[in-house]
């Protein structure tokens, strides 16, 4: 492990000696040198129930983690390279693939960026439809995340309940877009289809029930004394370190920094809606795991507001010319608040129908840097809770 960690996080007993890598093409994990008989190197992943599609090379001394080297890339699909070969419209279906549970938010910055490149103004109703879809998708993602957080802590009920309740919103999205998870609903110029008939009533009913349901999770999960004793004061990320490491989303807001792109740099109609942007100051795994749950209630609130304020009729898309292309040379960087944090899309256009370069700046990749930092000095039993509280989605980080 060659990352320099700040002095306030001390390793438990023995120091890992870091050799400078002799070759620049050193495979991951080899930089961790075994110097002490006491230290055991564990390969957590990629086939491990607690790793996701990534590998954590963890060195433990007894029950304490002395070093951790994350090795992502097992689901690297080259989305950015693919985007350079496809035009702006055919890029839509594959760019949502990194996080299919959050597919609307995954497409959002790209769509906003392409609209700025093409100079399109989106109809008002389409903006509200987008906000509703994005918030529903945020809830769907967080429910999935919460389910895995539950099973990571050995709480099987918390795995089953969110997976079941998530179906409510998935049904809504299916009604809205026709697909359960990979919607491809956002397109430059609006959304693909108008809302179906009486969607508003169904949506309001489902969202109200959903909110009532997720409030019940407090009793079984968030107020559970064992959960609190396990996650409080573990993996504490201080405010300064959160800024320094450049983390985002719920991780950042758990460390006491009020930064929500929806609020700070509103896109579409978020500036007309009341967004709470929950902030906690503890910075521990418990706060990080609670903020997404509170975010869901906020999302329900936003959906209700948007349903109320939405124009009842009107166009939802601007017809584009076939094969749209940018106006010559341009760059654009758009960001949105996804379920995991600020998600950016950097498009370099050279006036051709395909982007010259497309870069997704994904929150999972930005949060990954905090993982070796937080795990150092923690107990092995805290590894799953700290790891998953970072709101990390391996597929998204790899792109």
């Amino acid at each position: 492990m060659t990352t320099e960690l700040p002095a306030d996080i001390q390793s438990s007993s023995s120091e890992i000696q870091t050799d400078k890598p002799s070759s620049n093409w050193l495979p991951p994990g080899l930089a961790l040198q075994k110097v002490d008989e006491r230290i055991m190197t564990l390969n957590v992943g990629p086939q491990h129930p607690g790793s996701g599609h990534m590998r954590l090379i963890v060195q433990i001394d007894g029950d304490y983690i002395v070093a951790c080297d994350p090795d992502p890339g097992y689901v690297h699909r080259g989305e950015e390279k693919m985007a350079e070969y496809r035009n702006y419209i055919t890029n839509i279906p594959h760019l949502e693939r990194p996080v299919i549970h959050d597919s609307c938010n995954m497409l959002y910055p790209y769509v906003l960026g392409v609209e700025e490149l093409l100079g399109i103004e989106v109809p008002e109703r389409a903006k509200y439809v987008r906000v509703i879809a994005a918030e529903l998708n945020r809830c769907i993602y967080i429910m999935y995340w919460l389910a895995i957080y539950g099973i990571f802590l050995g709480h099987s009920t918390m795995f089953m309940w969110p997976t079941g309740d998530r179906e409510l919103l998935i049904d809504l999205m299916e009604k809205m877009t026709g697909a359960r998870v990979t919607h491809s609903h956002f397109i430059p110029g609006g959304v693909r289809n108008d809302l179906p008939a009486n969607f508003e009533e169904v949506c309001l009913r489902q969202v109200n029930y959903f909110e009532k349901r997720i409030k019940e999770y407090a009793a079984v999960f968030y107020d559970n004394p064992i959960l609190i004793s396990r996650t409080q004061n573990t993996g504490v990320l201080s405010r300064q370190d959160a800024i320094r490491l450049g983390v985002t989303g719920s991780v950042l807001r758990a460390s006491g920094i009020d930064f929500d792109v929806r609020k700070k740099e509103p896109y579409d109609v978020y500036d007309e809606l009341d967004i709470q942007s929950i902030v906690m100051t503890e910075g521990d795994a418990y706060a990080r795991s609670k903020i997404p749950w509170l975010d869901m209630m906020d999302s329900c609130n936003i959906i209700r507001q948007a349903l109320q304020k939405m124009p009842k009729s009107g166009s939802v898309r601007v017809k584009l010319k076939p094969n749209p292309k940018g106006k010559g040379l341009d760059t654009v960087y758009k960001r949105v608040e996804s379920g995991r944090g600020s998600l950016g899309c950097y498009i370099v256009s050279d006036g051709k129908p395909e982007p010259y370069r497309l870069k997704l700046s994904v929150p999972s990749f930005r949060n990954l840097i905090a993982l070796p930092y937080l795990l150092k000095g923690e107990k092995l039993g805290n590894m799953p809770s700290v790891y998953w509280s970072l709101n990390y989605w391996p597929v998204e980080a790899d792109r």
């Binding site: 050995g154 089953m160 064992i226």
Partner: protein, 437 residues
């Protein structure tokens, strides 16, 4: 519910029935009969009606349903029946299997799903058989660097130890495999084997995750054994005996949980830890260490460990019942077998059916007390097992340091409080000689 087969054909059905009958007959002749002979030759033959029962005689009895009852009776009085069937392994394994099924259904209901549903006609009742067949038919993969003899032996030892534990549990008055005076000490001795077997299995796999899991199991079991033993001292003090049957018999008026609730609670918590159940399933914490010390086990080796752990679950629940809930004691609700049937036979219109061995069988072996005792014992055990399963639905896993802290400080302290309560009750004369009991 599965639909009745749409392509049902009567001829096919009859053919399958005949097929089954053919195979049953063939297997019975080829395997069953020799097995019966072997058992009958090995077993010490009882004397029936003044005549030594030989294998040939026994087989000829088999053809006569009325004369088979003495054989059954004779068999039931043997030790091998006690060990293999009723209070011993078979009974416990049946209960353990039903525990697995009940657990899955119960967890499913807690988590708003249906659980096993399609295997078997009713509510997936054959799911367990399916799982068992799957485990049996799976390949057993042994890690290349494993210490093979120990790796093979550990699951077998695990089941054997669990079965030894089961043997000490009195189910009904007089129905216990090993009725020894130091029964509770024997229980502690048997429990002491589990960490050793666990660490042997974990170490012999020569793999990292089993090793960590084994160490965790060792930590957990050793540190919880002390409060486990201490929590039972109160019962021993107020009864003055270590014999489990006598402890049960002493609770004919009231169970000890009324006087020693702290001991019962501590014993229950330590029981969860010894059984590696959530919230104390650290040795098998799948998100941290894959499956703990079970990681490298596959196929029926894994199945054996599962069987052993559920036997252990049953045995611990039974021990709780025996020590704190009064064991077989309970109101007599099983009706007595009518005297008339035993003595005069069953009147069916003009015919009176008299069965020779019925009186001896129901008069001496399957008595009313035995049936009633078994009923209450099973009912109470099922209740305790329900509470053992319940935390799995509502608790996450604890961490090692919290667990050890709980075991070494809080539980041991509570144990001593419990012992003081027991002593106080004894010296105040509430319990013990001259007291309530």
């Amino acid at each position: 519910m599965s639909v009745i087969a749409p392509k049902f054909k009567l001829s096919g059905f009859i053919q399958s029935l005949l097929d089954n009958i053919f195979w049953i007959l063939l297997l019975f002749v080829l395997i069953g009969l020799p097995a019966v002979f072997i058992i009958l030759i090995v077993m010490p033959m009882p004397v029936l009606d003044g005549e030594l029962l030989t294998p040939f005689l026994a087989l000829s009895y088999l053809a006569n349903p009325t004369r088979i009852l003495p054989v059954i009776h004779a068999f039931m009085t043997t030790d091998i029946f006690r060990v293999m069937a009723f209070p011993g392994f078979g009974f416990a394994a049946l209960l353990a299997a039903s525990v697995i099924f009940a657990e899955r259904k119960m967890m499913a209901k807690l988590q708003l799903r249906v659980g096993p549903f399609y295997c078997g006609k009713f509510e997936g009742i054959l799911q367990l058989m399916g799982d068992g067949l799957k485990l049996i038919s799976k390949e057993i993969i042994i890690p290349a660097k494993a210490d093979k003899p120990i790796f093979w032996a550990a699951p077998v030892l695990f089941v054997a130890t669990a079965a030894a534990f089961v043997a000490l549990i009195p189910v009904a008055p007089g129905w216990v495999v090993a009725d020894i005076d130091l029964g509770l000490l024997a229980v502690f001795a048997v429990i002491g084997f589990f960490p050793i077997i666990t660490i042997l299995s974990a170490w012999s796999a020569n793999s990292k995750y089993p090793f960590i899991g084994g160490i965790r199991a060792l930590f957990q079991m050793v540190s919880f054994e002390i409060p486990l033993i201490l929590s039972l001292l109160g019962v021993v003090m107020v009864t003055g005996t270590l014999n489990l049957s006598e402890i049960t018999a002493s609770q004919s008026n009231f169970p000890w949980i009324i006087f020693l609730p702290i001991g019962a609670i501590v014993f229950f918590i330590t029981m969860l830890a010894e059984l590696e159940r959530i919230p104390f399933d650290l040795p098998e914490a799948e998100s941290e260490i894959v499956a703990g010390w079970l990681t490298e086990l596959s196929g029926m080796l894994y199945g054996l460990v599962q069987l052993g752990s559920y036997l252990k679950l049953y045995a611990f629940a039974a021990l709780f019942v025996v020590l704190f809930l009064g064991g077989w004691n309970g109101p007599m609700i099983i009706p007595a077998i009518p005297e008339q049937i035993l003595t005069e036979g069953i009147e069916m219109g003009p015919i009176t059916l008299t069965v020779d061995g019925l009186q001896s069988l129901f008069g001496n072996t399957i008595t009313q007390e035995m049936l009633n005792g078994t009923f209450w014992f099973v009912l109470k055990t099922a209740g305790v097992i329900f509470f053992i399963i319940l935390p799995r639905g509502v608790f996450p896993r604890v961490r090692v340091d919290i667990l050890l802290n709980l075991g070494w400080t809080k539980l041991i302290g509570l144990c001593f409080i419990n012992i003081f309560i027991a002593l106080g009750l004894l010296y105040a004369g509430v319990l013990g000689p001259g007291g309530l009991q």
